[in-house]
């Protein structure tokens, strides 16, 4: 049985638990894992002060573990992880999977701001909603997601995919404002509605939406067609569990080019109504 953590004592102030990665837990018994250090507010604490730990970590390399409870004040879970799998039953705090390079995180609940900032690989799946800055660049940095996939079944806040250079951000619900702002490349798919000013300052990359939206005046209409790569992309989203309709797979899309303020090599694809 792999390790299972159940939140017993919810922290009253933020708990930073970057130690919760498959690699750090590899080979540990439950008592050993409970001894690992976390930062509770401004002091060190044992993981075991907050979590009931059961099971034993999978042998060998990075395995899988499970977190249960309302972890909305627990930050940095899975930050920097390279392999293995984390399953979270409940909501989780900021910086989930920050800068991760591989592996997979599944959240059966909501995630706070900063899901997967500057990640380079792996996959994060949020079954509920996510906050602002999904897959974004940290403040001051020009580059956000560099690879990997973030799938949010629900809605997201602002600046999803800010500065993304590669990879996929897929949103089943609605996106907030400035989705794909300053994106360098990569793909953002929003099955719901886009907020304001999607793609502002984008250089390259694609933003796909299934609902009509008025773009910035620096975007220009090109044509209406059925981009073939969308069939591949949407098929992949289906495999990841998002409810993609046949009409979306075989539909025709308006292609808008932008942002003219930058390279004008990006595109926004809007499903024809």
């Amino acid at each position: 049985m792999s390790l299972a953590f159940t939140l017993r004592t919810p922290p009253t102030v933020p708990l930073e638990a970057e130690v919760l990665t498959p690699a750090r837990l590899a080979g540990l018994s439950a008592p050993e894992a409970a001894k690992l250090s976390v930062v509770h507010g401004n002091e060190r604490a044992d993981l075991g002060e907050f979590f009931q730990v059961q099971g034993t970590a999978d042998g060998g390399g990075a395995g899988e573990f499970r977190l249960t409870g309302d972890l909305s004040r627990v930050k940095h879970v899975g930050a920097g992880m390279a392999d293995g799998r984390i399953v979270i039953h409940g909501s989780v705090g900021m910086h989930l999977g920050a800068e991760m390079t591989g592996g997979e995180i599944i959240v059966e609940g909501d995630a706070a701001d900063w899901v997967g900032p500057e990640m380079t690989g792996g996959r994060i799946v949020i079954k509920g909603n996510a906050g602002h800055m999904v897959g974004a660049a940290s403040r001051g940095s020009a580059v956000g997601v560099r690879g990997g996939e973030i799938v949010v079944f629900g809605n997201t806040g602002n600046e999803a995919g800010h500065g993304m250079r590669r990879g996929l951000v897929a949103i089943g619900g609605d996106a907030g404002d400035f989705a794909g702002v300053s994106m360098l490349a990569g793909t953002i798919v929003v099955l719901g509605s886009l907020g304001w000013r999607a793609g502002a300052g984008m250089r390259r990359g694609s933003i796909v939406t299934m609902h009509p939206v008025e773009l910035l005046p620096t975007f220009s209409y090109a044509c209406t067609y059925a981009p073939l790569y969308l069939r591949l992309l949407l098929a992949r989203l289906r495999r990841l569990g998002l409810p993609v309709a046949d009409a979306q797979v075989s539909g025709r899309y308006q292609r808008w080019s932008g942002d003219a303020v930058e390279l004008n090599k990006g595109e926004v694809l809007i499903l024809e109504a």
């Binding site: 009253t12 102030v13 933020p14 930073e16 970057e18 250090s37 976390v38 930062v39 509770h40 507010g41 401004n42 002091e43 060190r44 004040r73 940095h76 930050a79 920097g80 900021m94 910086h95 920050a98 800068e99 701001d113 900063w114 602002h132 800055m133 940290s138 403040r139 001051g140 020009a142 404002d177 400035f178 702002v181 304001w196 000013r197 502002a200 008025e214 910035l216 005046p217 620096t218 975007f219 220009s220 003219a260 303020v261 004008n264």
Partner: protein, 449 residues
């Protein structure tokens, strides 16, 4: 009025970010009142005139009168105990006090945040994204033949921005003052400031970003969709005309306010304006300047930056500074209920924060430092009465253009300064903790902020 008058020349007004240092004050030393403030604007006059010494307890602990020393002890105990303490405010006090405030936050492993996070924080984030071409106000006075005010109402909020710095004054290369400048005002409504403008662009609410973005495209010679007029209320022809003027002026200056930074789009609005400024420098000289409200909010930005590397919203709980607006900014921390103690320095969040944040303020120990009774001081566990900076207390403040000015206090206050109280708290906390608190966990660099 008594005969016991004192003349204080060259004093500085800290009411707003203009920080005018040409106040010639007359003080009635018996009444402890400033009776005359020459050169002051209407706001400054009121600031000086209304300021007297209120009879208040030195400190209140749980509503009970106490000495400053008792207040310091209680405050130190609260801060030393707290797991996620926050120090907030800072923009209406001296840099000397701000430095101690950051030192306390560092020592206890707390968070320090300033009122910048609720005014020009977005401009700070924008600055970190695109940089900024800027200037001291004297350069605008001496050189700017085109001035664009965006999202502000200086006539009522910063009157001397017009009269001393940017519109009417004569300057080295602006020998005729107002006549030598083209003045543009961009706002969502007509205000008292509108008549000063040669060109007034009335934009639809929350469409500043679209207008700025269109200007950027036009400056670069790119296409802009004619729908811009329907969406923003400003026609393409007007924008094209404006761009032609902006490209052909000798020295242009943007002065932008919270009408831009705190409306939908926030840091992207500021960023669009800063990027437009950069774009224009391909053609001629352009600068931009956020118009700041609080008297020393610019000092707070500077102090927090030089001590930590970041301008506001800085957390020290891991043993080193981390910056992340939204995560470590006060409204957010309070609304999420993450803070377990707060020291509020010269600010009144209980009067203007969102309800959820104020609700949390009521749940946690609050320490307040303020010359006056405020909503915040009234819900404080420990409330200190302090002397007013610039009037009773000397020290340093920074003008909105980063120019540091030394204050010339007009008369003494019986109350201690912010710096004195904070220093006492710092020393007591240090004694309680035995030095700086050092969390025994390695830096989470990969996951830092």
């Amino acid at each position: 009025m008594s005969e016991n008058l004192k003349f204080v020349p060259h004093a500085t007004c800290t009411f707003c970010g203009c920080v005018c240092d040409d106040m010639d004050l007359t003080v009635d030393m018996d009444e402890k009142r400033i009776t005359k403030a020459e050169n002051a604007c209407v706001l400054g006059k009121a600031w000086f005139r209304e300021h007297g010494i209120e009879q208040r307890p030195y400190a209140l602990i749980g509503g009970r009168e106490a000495t400053t020393a008792e207040g310091v002890e209680e405050a130190a105990q609260i801060l030393a105990r707290a797991r996620f303490p926050l120090i907030y405010g800072l923009s209406d006090t001296t840099c000397e006090a701000q430095r101690v405030a950051v030192a306390i936050a560092d020592m206890i492993g707390g968070t320090v945040d300033t009122t910048t996070s609720v005014c020009h924080g977005p401009s700070g984030i924008a600055f970190e994204t695109v940089g900024e071409s800027t200037a001291s106000l004297g350069e605008i006075k001496n050189r700017a033949d085109m001035v664009v005010f965006w999202g502000g109402n200086p006539a009522e909020a910063h009157p001397r921005l017009f009269s001393r710095y940017a519109v009417t004054p004569k300057g080295m290369y602006i020998p005729n003052g107002r006549k030598d400048r083209t003045v543009v005002l961009v706002d969502v409504r007509r205000t008292m400031s509108t008549p000063v403008a040669d060109i007034f662009l009335r934009v639809k609410p929350r469409s500043d970003f679209e207008v700025l973005w269109a200007l950027r495209a036009l400056v670069k010679g790119r296409r802009v969709d004619p729908s811009i007029e329907r969406r923003t209320g400003v026609s393409l022809a007007v924008l094209e005309d404006l761009v032609a003027r902006m490209k052909s002026c000798r020295y242009g200056a943007f002065l932008f306010g919270m009408g831009l930074t705190m409306t939908r789009g926030r840091h992207f609005n500021s960023g669009a304006l800063l990027a437009l400024t950069t774009d224009l420098n391909e053609f001629t000289h352009w600068v931009a300047k956020p118009v700041r409200g609080h008297g020393n909010v610019t000092g707070a930005d500077n102090v927090v930056s030089w001590q930590t590397g970041f301008p506001f919203g800085v957390n020290f709980s891991r043993g080193y500074p981390r910056f992340n607006p939204g995560e470590f900014t006060t409204v957010d921390l309070l609304a999420r209920g993450e803070t377990d103690a707060i020291l509020i320095l010269a600010s009144d969040p209980a009067a203007n924060f969102p309800k959820a944040a104020i609700e949390h303020l009521k749940r946690i120990p609050v320490i307040s430092l303020d010359p006056k009774t405020t909503l915040t001081s009234q819900l404080a566990r420990v409330a200190f009465t302090t002397a007013t900076y610039g009037i009773n207390v000397g020290g340093t403040v920074y003008r909105m253009d980063d120019v540091a000015i030394t204050l010339r206090p007009a008369f003494e206050s019986p109350y201690p300064s912010d710096e004195e109280i904070l220093s006492a708290i710092r020393d007591r906390v240090r004694a309680l903790l035995g030095g700086n608190r050092v969390p025994a966990v390695a830096p989470a660099v990969a996951a830092a902020s």
